[in-house]
Each structure stands twice: as structure tokens, then as C-alpha cells.
């Protein structure tokens, strides 16, 4: 077998030459070739640092690492006759599965004092007149001994930089092929061109083929890759091939050889940022594929493998994600819990995982593997996955591969899996993160039911994923969209609405809202149509269905630099869809405020830039605010001295609630909640709500939600604008703290009707039950709506508009509403 000698040369240092030599050598060896690497950069040797083991470093520093310098000196002074090539060749360990071999002939014991003394002796020997044979014969003898003694397929030479005698010999006489590396720096280019010209003209041994020259332009930054300068350089260099290796800040001069990037092994750069080394690795493998045709397939497969494993590593460790224009944090794997290239099993039955994720830092003796990740190229994924599951007992196995379209593909397997029977693997498409192993029964099972189960158990981290599932099941329209699964979407909404914990309920609302501080990982990125659908069909219903303690926080209009808050939009939706009114306090402020300014400024045509803001205080009450109060409600607060003397507050509230329920004179406004027209404030009285719920065997959250809807409708009938843009502020409730307070039958009948309709639309059985139970125990004013129950909402809305405007009703409408108002017991 002939030996192919490839010399790597650069006119200037710092171009990444030694690292490229080491990596190329290792790749060829891992791919099955016998490779010898020879360090002829005698004045600045370092290849042993790239490839050697700690033992090699130790020997080098103690002067006991013989190498090329010792060999050459021995040849020339005749003392090296008993100096075999095996005495200077170091075997470099490769993974046991590798079929090839890699040997290094270092320069010597650099940087020990002994090395420099030997190098000086060599130089003295070469300077002296010699009868026969000099450096050319010596290096050719060294090359011949390598060929004869080690019989490699490839001899890779790390050549000296600049214009030197040894560099000239390595490139023009020893080499079958020269790989010239240069950066785009002018001095590097100029020197390379001079050397290239000399090499093309250099005499060769009679039996040698013409020298082949390949050029590599290295450290090319991404912004200059396609620049005219680089294009011109490529054209000028000519040669048999010109390739470009990108600059990568993740790769430093400290970098040792990249390990494990051939088939049967894996490669993962230790970098969490962007593509950390990936681009350079990929370009290097592409270059190897073109330069060493015998290993073209291996290099291309390795590149695919490297990219797949690299992306997996990045997926596992990326601590932030960019979703819908915002960067959010994610609970990624700590790097110390990940380990690359771990072999399991013994002998021929062993396999090497590309990445193993542990339940503790991997240096801990108690660390157990949670997930095995292996890239496969050609083997049966199902079989390999089953081997891993049986061998390691890791809960999850991820098999990476390339799909037919050249993209990466990954399949997840688990020992508890809810397998797709067609493929024997999970349908989860992303790699599990640490919390998946504690929150999910099966980390590969991210079905809607599994996610909802996790949320029910308090794992709010799955809310984003659930919302995405809801979108997938709901985002269908006339013009396309995701699969249409309305029953699943309904199940998601109902489960989220059943959340009891206030903090979790708050997280649910945040996950489904489009507030300034939150962007869910919904399908698409910045899709207004989807945003609107999620807001109106998921968030808004949940806002009314979840416990009011959570909902009210999102209903406030404060702190909204990027537009109206989600809660305000939900309230506006209620006003528009149920009452046919427009609720937009900002528009009210602008319209009414401008009217005031117009009156005060007179006939000026110049806008007053700041005048409007000075009026904002006057319009606070036009924006509904919400409050949960622990105080006693107005109807349970003693209003006279006699009442105060006769009872204490706490017992009075209990008695009032109990008496009203018993006498079917329960009211919502004034007892469970209230709407203060002067402040535009909706108040819920928590103690009264709790008592009412207790007496009626209802859940306080449902009584609270009914009250919240009821009082919000009161507020909207007061502050909403009709299509003409008019407000009818006179249509307002009597004040509940008035000693002569009586519920307004007209207001309550209409409000109860709309409350009922809204709850029906929400399709919340528990809420509807609460409303019905409460209604039966309420005063006639609150029961009057029963007469309207089956009337079309358009009719009632029309009547409501007329009454609100004070124009009255005529004909049948007047009769129906009048009958309802006058009935004592419905």
C-alpha cells in the first residue's frame, strides 16, 4: 500500500494549521485509516499538545520524549542506526470501536532544555560540510523509515512556517500534496503567493508526481465570506482547490484535538452560544470530504452526525428562548448534568451514547442516567432504542438521525411510553428537559391529557405548551390552519378553568394573555389573528371562569405601555358581544377631553400638546377598577345608632346573609358585591361571598365569579358607549349605602338576564349552577329576569338601549318588561 504524504504549510503562524493537522489525522484514523502525524515544526513544536496524553506531556517536559529531532540527528551523525522508528512513534488512543490507528512522531521533548540542545546539535551538524548526504537525505530517510516501519496510509506533516530549509523540503520533496493555509491578512497572502510560485517551480524526485497544491483560507469571518476581497484571493491562489474555513471565536489556540467526530462517535462543542464551533467543524469536515475521497462518505456522515448532536446539545442547554419577539428563560439542563460520549455495556455488545443526561452532576457517583441520546446512521432505531432501555434502565432514549430531506430527526422512546403503535416511539418532537422527569409520569408523553394532569398537580411550566396545543386544536378557518379538534380544545379550557389554586390560576391567565410581560409559545410568531383568537376564545372565558382573586389582577388597566391589558380587552369583549356597547376608557378620555379643550381654547387651530394629559384625573372613573374587599358590605353595615348598638359587625353579616337567603331576599349588589358609579369601581365582598356560598352549598369561587360578572355588567351598562358614541351616565344604580336603598328592578332584571346569557355562553356548568341556585334565593328584582330568559338577546339588548336612553318602550316590549318588573314571585 502506498503512503500518501500531505504537508500542511502556512507562511504565517496562527492560522490554525496544527489544529487542522491534528483533527484531520484523528478523523482519518477514526474512519479506519492508518495515519502517522509528523511534527516538523521543529522551532515551534506543539502537535503533541494537540494529540498527546498527560503522560506524553510529562515525558516531553522531562526530556524523555524522543522525536523527529533526535531521529534526524541520529541519522546524520551515524548514532541513530539502532534508533528504530518505533522508538519515536507514539500510539494515540482512539475509541475502541475505531478500526484505524493514529501514531504521532513528535518533534521531541519540547519544550525541555534537552530538546533545544538536541535541535542546536542538529543545526551544527547541518552547518558543517558533509561528505555525503545532508538534510534532504535525512528527512527522506525519516519518511522512508515511517513508510517501511509503520506502513501508514497517510503521513500528515505539520510543516514549519515561513521560508526555511526544512519547510521547503517538507513541502517540495516529502509531500505528495501540500495544504497551504492563509488568512486574509495581506502579509499572509503575499507570502503564500510567493511560496506557491516557488513550489510550483521546485524540482521533484524523478519518481514523484507533480506536486498537488490545495489552499485553505482560514479565519474568514461570516461578514467577509462573500466579500470581493476573499473572492479575488480564491481566484488568485488557484491551485488544485481553494476552500474557506470560517473563523470561530469558540475555537481558541488552547483547543486540543476535537474528539469523537467520526462514525461511531459524537461531537458536541462545549458552547451554549449560537453555533459555538459548529460552523467551523462542519466546514472542516466538508473540506476533508473533498480532500480525502476515500473517506468522503465518512466525512459527510460525520458532518451530519456532528450537526445533529450539536443541535441536540444546544437544545438541552439553551437557557433562553425567543418566542413571539420576546426572549424568555427556560429550565434547561445544567451542563454539569450532561456528559458526552459515554460507553455502556461491554465488549462487542457495548454502545456509545453521544450525550447522556444525568439526574445529578455527572461526577457524582450516585448520578443516574435519565436520558440517553445517540445519533444513528443506518441502524434500526427501534432496535437500538430497545437496547438502550434494557441496558441502562434510563427512563428516556432519544435517537437522532437525518431524514430524507437532509434535516435532523429525533425519536423518543421510554420504558413507560405511550407509544405510537405504528412506530413504537413517542410522538413528542422535542427533547425532554429536567423538569419533565419530575412533573410527567412519562417524560416522552406530552399528550394533552398528560400535560393537563401535570398542570392539575401544580406544574405551571406546561401552561405554554398547553396553550400551544389549544391553538393547534382551535386554529382552523376557511383558509386553512391546524387540525380541528374542538373537543380537545374544550377539554383544555375546562381543565384550566377548574384550577383552584389562586397562584396557579394567575399563571394560567398570564399564559393565555397577551400582556406586555408575557408571550406564550403559541403557534407562529407574532400572528395577530392567532393572538386575537387566543384572547377572545381562551383567555376571556378563563378570566370569568377562574377564581376572581386571580382574574381581578389582570383586569386592572395600570402599567400597560404596549397597549391595553388583556383584562381590559376581555371586558371590552363582554361589552361588545353581550351588550352591544363599546368600552374603551382611553377613547372616552380622548373624545371627552378634547371637547373640554375645544371649549376652553376657543378658536385656536393649534393642538395643545400636553393639555389632554392634565385632564386625565377627571376621567379615572370612566375606567372600571376592581377590588376584593374584606370589609362589611353596605347592606350589612349598621346605618343608624340603634343598629350599631344592637349587633356586632361579624355576627350582623352572618345574620343578614342567612336571613336574606331564608326569606328569598338575597341581593347581589350591596351585599356580595357593588358597583360604585362615582369611582367606576367594582367591589367584591369576600366575607359575604364566603357566607353565601356556605349557606347555599356552593363554592366561594363560583359565587364570586357570578358576582363579578354581575357587577361588571352593571359597570358596563353605565360606562359603555353605544354605536353613536354616546354614554348615558344617568342609567345608574341606586347607591347601596343609602339607608333607603332598594334594588332597582329594571337594572337587576336586565343585568341578571345578561349575566345568565354570559354564563351560558361560557358553558361552565358549575358557574351556571351557582347562578341558578343564587337566583332562586334572591329578591324579586333578581328573579324578574326569569320572565326574559327565553327572549332573544337582540330583543333584550334593544330594550336595554331604549331604557338606557330614557326613550321608553312601546307595544309588546313595554308589556313584557313591565310584567317582569311587576311580578313579586317568579
Amino acid at each position: 500500500m502506498t503512503m500518501d504524504t500531505v504537508a500542511f504549510y502556512s507562511y504565517k503562524g496562527g492560522v490554525g494549521r496544527s489544529l487542522l493537522v491534528a483533527n484531520t489525522a484523528q478523523f482519518l484514523a477514526l474512519s479506519g485509516s492508518k495515519v502517522v502525524v509528523l511534527d516538523l515544526d521543529l522551532e515551534a513544536p506543539g502537535l503533541h499538545q494537540k494529540l498527546g496524553s498527560p503522560d506524553v506531556f510529562h515525558r516531553a517536559s522531562h526530556g524523555s520524549l524522543p522525536g523527529a529531532v533526535d531521529m534526524l540527528l541520529g541519522i546524520l551523525d551515524g548514532t541513530g542506526k539502532n534508533f528504530g522508528i518505533s522508538d519515536v512513534a507514539i500510539n494515540i488512543d482512539l475509541p475502541s470501536a475505531s478500526k484505524g490507528s493514529l501514531m504521532l512522531i513528535p518533534a521531541g521533548s519540547a519544550p525541555s532544555q534537552k530538546y533545544w540542545e538536541t535541535l542546536e546539535a542538529l543545526n551544527v551538524s547541518l552547518r558543517a560540510p558533509r561528505r555525503s548526504g545532508g538534510l534532504p537525505e535525512a528527512v527522506l530517510e525519516l519518511q522512508a523509515r515511517i513508510a517501511d516501519g509503520l506502513r501508514p496510509e497517510f503521513l500528515l506533516i505539520d510543516s514549519r512556517t515561513g521560508i526555511t530549509e526544512l519547510g521547503g523540503l517538507a513541502t517540495s520533496v516529502l509531500a505528495d500534496r501540500v495544504v497551504c493555509l492563509t488568512t486574509t491578512a495581506p502579509e499572509s497572502i503575499e507570502g503564500t503567493q510567493v511560496v506557491a510560485k516557488a513550489l510550483r517551480a521546485a524540482p521533484r524526485l524523478a519518481s514523484q508526481q507533480p506536486l498537488r497544491m490545495d489552499f485553505l483560507v482560514t479565519r474568514v469571518t461570516s461578514d467577509s465570506r462573500n466579500s470581493p476581497e476573499v473572492s479575488r484571493l480564491i481566484k488568485e491562489l488557484g491551485g488544485d482547490s481553494v476552500s474557506v474555513l470560517p473563523h470561530d471565536s469558540a475555537i481558541t489556540n488552547k483547543e486540543r484535538v476535537w474528539s469523537g467526530w467520526a462514525p461511531g462517535d459524537g461531537l458536541t462543542p462545549h458552547d451554549d452560544s449560537d453555533d459555538g464551533g459548529n460552523e467551523l467543524f462542519a466546514a472542516t469536515l466538508t473540506w476533508i470530504a473533498g480532500s480525502f475521497p476515500v473517506h468522503r462518505n465518512d466525512a459527510e456522515a460525520a458532518r451530519r452526525r456532528m450537526e445533529a448532536v450539536h443541535h441536540a446539545w444546544r437544545d438541552l442547554t439553551r437557557t433562553s428562548r425567543h418566542v413571539r419577539g420576546f426572549s424568555t428563560s427556560r429550565p434547561a439542563w445544567p451542563v454539569e448534568q450532561l456528559r458526552e460520549r459515554v460507553r455502556f455495556g461491554t465488549g462487542s455488545k457495548s454502545r456509545q451514547a453521544d450525550i447522556v443526561a444525568y439526574d445529578a452532576p455527572d461526577n457524582s457517583s450516585k448520578a443516574k442516567p435519565l436520558m440517553i441520546i445517540e445519533y444513528l446512521d443506518g441502524e434500526d432505531r427501534d432496535d437500538v432504542a430497545q437496547w438502550w432501555l434494557a441496558e441502562t434502565r434510563a427512563p428516556v432514549v432519544a435517537i437522532l438521525s437525518m431524514n430524507d430531506r437532509g434535516g435532523s430527526d429525533q425519536r423518543l422512546y421510554s420504558n413507560k411510553t405511550r407509544y405510537d403503535p405504528r412506530f413504537h416511539h413517542s410522538d413528542r418532537w422535542d427533547l425532554p428537559l429536567p423538569h419533565d422527569f419530575t412533573a410527567l409520569t412519562d417524560p416522552t408523553d406530552v399528550s394533552v391529557d398528560a400535560l393537563l394532569d401535570a398542570v392539575r398537580r401544580g406544574h405551571a411550566e406546561y401552561l405554554d405548551r398547553i396553550v400551544t396545543e389549544w391553538v393547534r386544536c382551535s386554529a382552523s378557518g376557511l383558509h386553512g390552519g391546524a387540525p380541528w379538534k374542538p373537543k380537545v380544545a374544550r377539554r383544555i379550557e375546562d381543565t384550566l378553568a377548574s384550577v383552584e389554586d389562586v397562584e396557579l390560576a394567575r399563571r394560567v391567565l398570564w399564559a393565555t394573555s397577551l400582556g406586555p410581560g408575557h408571550r406564550g409559545m403559541w403557534l407562529g410568531d407574532g400572528d395577530d389573528w392567532l393572538d386575537e383568537q387566543v384572547m377572545s376564545e381562551l383567555f376571556a372565558p378563563l378570566l370569568w371562569r377562574l377564581t376572581p382573586e386571580a382574574s381581578i389582577e389582570l383586569m386592572h388597566g395600570h402599567g400597560r405601555p404596549f397597549g391595553p391589558p388583556a383584562g381590559l380587552m376581555a371586558i371590552a369583549g363582554l361589552a361588545r358581544n353581550l351588550l352591544g356597547l363599546r368600552y374603551d376608557p382611553d377613547a372616552t378620555f380622548r373624545v371627552e377631553g378634547q371637547r373640554i379643550l375645544d371649549r376652553s381654547v376657543g378658536d385656536s387651530n393649534i393642538d395643545d400638546d400636553h393639555g389632554l394629559y392634565s385632564l386625565s384625573g377627571m376621567f379615572r372613573h370612566t375606567e372600571i377598577s376592581f377590588e376584593i374587599s374584606g370589609d362589611s358590605p353596605p347592606l350589612a353595615t349598621p346605618k343608624t345608632d340603634d343598629e350599631r348598638k344592637g349587633r356586632k359587625n361579624a355576627s350582623s353579616l352572618t345574620r343578614v346573609v342567612s336571613e336574606r337567603i331564608a326569606s328569598r331576599s338575597m341581593v347581589t349588589t350591596g351585599l356580595l358585591g357593588d358597583y360604585h358609579r362615582d369611582m367606576g369601581r367594582v367591589v367584591l365582598y369576600s366575607k359575604a361571598i364566603d357566607l353565601c356560598a356556605d349557606r347555599l352549598a356552593l363554592r366561594p369561587r363560583h359565587v364570586g365569579s357570578v358576582t363579578l360578572i354581575h357587577e361588571t355588567i352593571h359597570a358596563l351598562t353605565h360606562l359603555g358607549r353605544d354605536l353613536d358614541g354616546r354614554m348615558w351616565q344617568d342609567f345608574s344604580l341606586p347607591a347601596a349605602d343609602d339607608p333607603l336603598f332598594q334594588p332597582s328592578r329594571l337594572h337587576e332584571a336586565l343585568t341578571q338576564y345578561f349575566t345568565h346569557r354570559h354564563i351560558v355562553q361560557l358553558q361552565d356548568g358549575a358557574l351556571l349552577h351557582a347562578f341558578e341556585v343564587m337566583s332562586r334565593r334572591q329578591s324579586p328584582a333578581y328573579r324578574a329576569w326569569e320572565r326574559l330568559r327565553h327572549l332573544p338577546i337582540e330583543d333584550v339588548r334593544g330594550w336595554f338601549m331604549s331604557v338606557r336612553r330614557g326613550v321608553g318602550l312601546a307595544g309588546q316590549a313595554s308589556q313584557v318588561l313591565s310584567d317582569a318588573m311587576n311580578v313579586e314571585d317568579v
Binding site: 560540510p129 561528505r131 555525503s132 530517510e141 522512508a144
Partner: protein
């Protein structure tokens, strides 16, 4: 190769040169035996005298034939392979050079090859030793910055 037209050399007679070359050969052999780095210069001196002798004596005469073979052998010993090959080429083209002198010149090269093969056994085994010597000749006086190995 030295310039044999150098006036001093030209003034020497055959007897002078015989005397000088005997002394020079002896001196070079001693220096070589003791490993002196100056032995190459001594052999160069021998080459100079032998080459002059060859110039002033016919090839078919004993003195002339010995001088010619001696000049080639001395050039090889001086490490001046290119000079040796030039001289050998010139002398062997003279039909009047006796056969035994021709053999002597050829043997000189063969012995040199043997010496090299002992120093560079693997190179010799690969069959490239001769190629290297030829390569040396081709780059001996070659201008250019790179390579300048030879």
C-alpha cells in the same frame, strides 16, 4: 568546480602536482580518519590537483588516467556530487580513457552509493537514493527563495 585556469595552478608542473596531490591525499585521509570537519576541504584540495593533472596529461597515459579517476573520487569525498558528476561525464566522453580507469570512475560512484546506503538504509531500500542524488544536482545552483534545501 574550481577554476583550473587559476594562474598559480597553471604554473605547477606535473611533478609539482604529483608531489602536492600525494601530500594532499594523505592529509585528507588523516583528517577524515580523525573526523575533522575540515576533511571536506582537504578532499576539495585533492580534487583541485587531480583535476589540473588530468588537464595537462592525456587520458590514455597512466598519470592522466589515474588523475581523472582521482579527481572524481576526490569530488565525491568532498561532498561535491554535482562536480563529480560533471567531471565523470567529461572524462568518460573521452574515448582514449582506458577501460580500467572507466571502471574506477564507476566504482567510485558505486562506493559512494554504498556509503550513503549505510547512512540512509531505508532510503536506499526504497530505491530513491539515486533519485535524491540526481535531485541534488538539479537544485545545486538553482536560484529562488523556496525551497533552498539543497
Amino acid at each position: 568546480m574550481i577554476d583550473i585556469d587559476t594562474p598559480v595552478i597553471e604554473t605547477l608542473t606535473e611533478d609539482d602536482l604529483d608531489t602536492l596531490v600525494s601530500i594532499a591525499i594523505r592529509r585528507a585521509e588523516v583528517l577524515e580518519d580523525i573526523g575533522s570537519p575540515t576533511s571536506h576541504e582537504a578532499w576539495h584540495e585533492v580534487m583541485t590537483y587531480e583535476e589540473r593533472l588530468a588537464a595537462i596529461t592525456p587520458a590514455f597515459e597512466i598519470t592522466g588516467g589515474i588523475a581523472r579517476a582521482g579527481a572524481v573520487r576526490a569530488a565525491l569525498a568532498a561532498g561535491r556530487r554535482a562536480d563529480a558528476e560533471t567531471l565523470a561525464s567529461r572524462y568518460l566522453s573521452d574515448d582514449s580513457l582506458p577501460a580500467e580507469r572507466r571502471v574506477a570512475i564507476t566504482v567510485a560512484f558505486a562506493e559512494e552509493e554504498a556509503r550513503l546506503a549505510e547512512i540512509f538504509p531505508a532510503l536506499a531500500k526504497s530505491g530513491r537514493l539515486t533519485e535524491v542524488q540526481e535531485w541534488r544536482v538539479s537544485v545545486a545552483n538553482r536560484p529562488g527563495v523556496f525551497p533552498r534545501a539543497a
